[in-house]
């Protein structure tokens, strides 16, 4: 890479974008990080609406007690598929798409390090997703045992078990390749002057997330492979009848699963750490503390997995270890929350849509964090286990956390991607509509959960009727609000007449804002010269 011929890059700079012609050549064979980023983001938005429509059906059934619209078997498919689609189809590809678009532009690289692998890691996804979703339309229906696939229940299905496992294998391969690419790009392709501790926090968050991905996705692959051989090849890893242990699956699964929840939130932390300084017109408070807290959250996330299974009958020593370990995560997370607040302190804040989403993220993610600490308390968790309290907790951290982070990022960088400003008025309508409805949707679930309403059940005690109706109304409202989001994006990309400037936002710092808007098809063919005041966290000496 060191030998970039200046003559060649000059010729490139003089030409126009020279994108490949023809739809297939442009999108199917593309190795351009911006194209692949766009593909990921469009894929993720599609999956978000499919997974969201499943959630609408769930809320419709739960609108009233009793069985109105569907049989329990179908309801169980909906909850299982909603979880799998949102995690592997919506949230993770969205973050990988943002990484593809932004990381090369943020570190002054011409493209990702391994562009062909990049193409491959995207194009596996639609096929994996097809395998997953088509099950619902096959005889016997989709998997019904929950996205966590606990045996022996998950193995009671028919052919759908194989479909689900192969879909997960493919998605795993895709994210591992994506992660390797991101690691190689960040370690090898930084422009001169972009030291590790001067990288934007979004890049840092993705470097750490990528390491988590290559460490835990293979473990999930191993766990589902064991499920596969248990189901179809007569092994007994988890069959109690053959000397196996179903609880062992939970240990292996959550060894992947807990780091996975941080894989879905760390990049959002990075995004928020970019947006808040921009709209507060102040450098990020405590840049190094932010980086180290990211790293310590990632480390701690690998040793707390059994807090998902306090009720399986662990020895007291184990319960205590996992309880204190989990609570310890509150410390680096608290560092981040306080640093965001300190960044805003005495800043000249303006409230454009990305900033509104970022502030909502800080407040609502913290609520989800608090209910997480409540769940970490072993004796209390015996009451929360498998109730709607847990559902409320992880939707606060995943919807108002990860998803709001993604939406903030889309509003923040969309002008850079498309060259047009989105409609600020409709962006704000989308924000307020979403932030109110999401609380109407999930806050009452805390109450019904504490009162004992179990999750994954299509019917419930009439005592929970009012809160469930409220929750369903919030759900439909939140679901419909997302069509505003879709409309704002389509309008911005195709119809908006308001051109974006290169810097887009008055307070924006960082290499991506030195490029024109829309970002040219090939950027930084020659490495930029970097001065500290161009960087997102400002002119900070280390």
């Amino acid at each position: 890479m060191a030998a970039v011929n200046p003559a060649i890059s000059d010729i490139h700079a003089d030409e126009h974008d020279h994108k490949p012609h023809g739809f297939l050549h442009r999108w199917l064979f593309t190795t351009n990080h911006k194209d692949i980023g766009t593909l990921y983001l469009v894929f993720s938005l599609t999956a978000f609406f499919i997974g969201g429509s499943f959630a609408m059906l769930i809320r419709a059934e739960l609108f009233q007690p009793g069985l109105q619209l569907m049989q329990p078997e179908f309801f169980n498919q909906l909850t299982t598929m909603h979880g799998l689609i949102m995690i592997f189809g919506a949230i993770m590809p969205a973050f990988v798409g943002l990484a593809n678009w932004m990381i090369p532009m943020m570190i002054g690289a011409p493209d990702m390090a391994l562009p062909r692998m990049n193409n491959w890691s995207f194009w596996i996804l639609p096929f994996a997703f097809l395998l997953l979703v088509m099950e619902v339309f096959l005889p016997g229906g989709g998997p019904q045992g929950g996205w966590t696939m606990y045996p022996p229940l998950a193995l009671e299905g028919g052919a759908n078990v194989a479909f689900m496992i192969f879909a997960i294998h493919l998605m795993g391969i895709s994210s591992i390749m994506g992660a390797i690419n991101i690691i190689a790009t960040i370690l090898n392709m930084r422009a001169p002057g972009m030291d590790l501790l001067k990288m934007p926090v979004f890049v840092w968050s993705w470097l750490i997330t990528a390491f988590l991905l290559i460490m835990v996705m293979p473990v999930l692959a191993g766990a589902v492979t064991m499920l596969l051989t248990d189901k179809f090849f007569g092994t007994s890893f988890f069959h109690a009848a053959g000397g196996g242990d179903p609880v062992m699956f939970q240990h292996i699964f959550w060894f992947f699963g807990h780091p996975e929840v941080y894989i879905m939130i760390l990049p959002a932390f990075g995004i928020i750490s970019e947006i808040i300084p921009t709209f507060s017109r102040k450098p990020l408070f405590g840049y190094q503390a932010m980086v180290y807290s990211l790293a310590s959250i990632a480390f701690l996330s690998c040793i707390v997995w059994a807090h998902h299974m306090f009720a399986v009958g662990m020895p007291l020593g184990g319960e205590l270890f996992f309880m204190y370990g989990t609570m310890l995560i509150g410390i680096p997370t608290g560092v981040k929350v306080f640093n965001w607040v300190s960044t805003m302190w005495k800043g000249s804040i303006t409230f454009e849509t990305p900033m509104l989403f970022a502030i909502a993220f800080v407040v609502l993610f913290t609520i989800g964090g608090f209910s997480g600490v409540m769940c970490a308390i072993v004796p209390a968790d015996f009451q929360y286990q498998d109730t709607y309290f847990v559902v409320a907790h992880f939707h606060y951290v995943l919807v108002t956390g990860a998803l709001f982070g993604i939406m903030a990022a889309v509003y923040y960088w969309l002008p850079k991607w498309s060259g047009n400003m989105y409609s600020e008025k409709w962006g704000k309508i989308h924000f307020w509509s979403s932030v109110i409805s999401v609380n109407v949707l999930f806050f009452p679930q805390h109450f019904v959960g504490l009162a004992g309403m179990p999750r994954r059940i299509p019917d419930y005690n009439v005592a929970f009727a009012d809160f469930n109706m409220m929750s369903s109304i919030g759900g439909f409202w939140f679901g419909l609000s997302q069509f505003i989001f879709l409309g704002v994006i389509i309008h911005c990309v195709y119809y908006s007449r308001q051109r974006a400037t290169a810097q887009v936002w008055e307070g924006a710092r960082g290499l991506e804002w030195t490029l024109p808007s829309p970002a040219p098809y090939h950027s930084f063919s020659t490495p930029p010269v970097i001065t500290d005041d161009m960087l997102a966290h400002g002119n900070v000496t280390h």
Binding site: M189, R190, V216, V219, A241, D245, M248, F255, G313, P315
Partner: protein, 192 residues
């Protein structure tokens, strides 16, 4: 680029991490066993306690332990299975018999295996079975009923705060053994 190492180098290193992580998933299978049995003292293997374990123990009549029995059948096995005594009061160190009854309600011969579980799990290391129907495969002919014993004793070293133990059995169909049985004993049934 100035930061540049070789991409191939990063690819190699990360690929090794991925392979190690995949292997680690499978390494957790034996590791789980070792941690449970040697670190946490939970007994996973279903083996008979030897008579010598009992030989060195004296009956502790100062304590009485309530042992509860639970009998379950997996939904794929057409048997009924029940315990004759839901509750027994035993002294630690004394060898006791409990009886269970299983009936094959189907019209063909089936092999079943019973899987025991002791709660609380911390006490499982102190619950010893010298003889149990769960150690072997149980073959029940169509309609046959069998009375089956469990001979057990509670180790007197059982922590003093444990006053109650639950022994639960779940019977599962042993499909492989049932298949073997139908192949050797009777000619394969006509296709239908």
């Amino acid at each position: 680029m100035s930061a540049g190492g070789s991409h191939r180098g990063v690819l190699k290193t990360t690929a090794i991490v991925v392979i190690c992580a995949f292997a680690f998933g499978f390494a957790m299978v034996p590791a789980y066993r070792i941690v449970c049995e040697h670190v946490l003292g939970i007994r996973l293997a279903q083996t008979a306690a030897s008579a010598s374990t009992l030989a060195g123990m004296s009956e502790d009549t100062s304590r009485t332990i309530t042992v509860q029995f639970v009998a379950n059948v997996n939904s794929k096995l057409p048997w009924t299975f029940a315990t004759e005594q839901p509750i027994m009061q035993v002294h630690p160190g004394k060898l006791v018999d409990a009886w269970f009854d299983a009936t094959n309600t189907s019209s063909h011969d089936i092999v079943g295996n019973a899987v025991p579980s002791v709660a609380p799990s911390a006490a499982s290391a102190f619950f010893n079975k010298t003889e149990c129907f769960c150690f072997t495969e149980q073959v029940l002919k169509a309609g046959e009923t069998r009375r089956m014993p469990v001979r057990f004793f509670v180790d007197p070293r059982l922590p003093r705060d444990v006053r109650e133990l639950t022994l639960s059995y779940t019977f599962y169909a042993n499909e492989a053994a049932t298949q073997r049985l139908s192949n050797t004993v009777s000619p394969p049934p006509a296709a239908g």
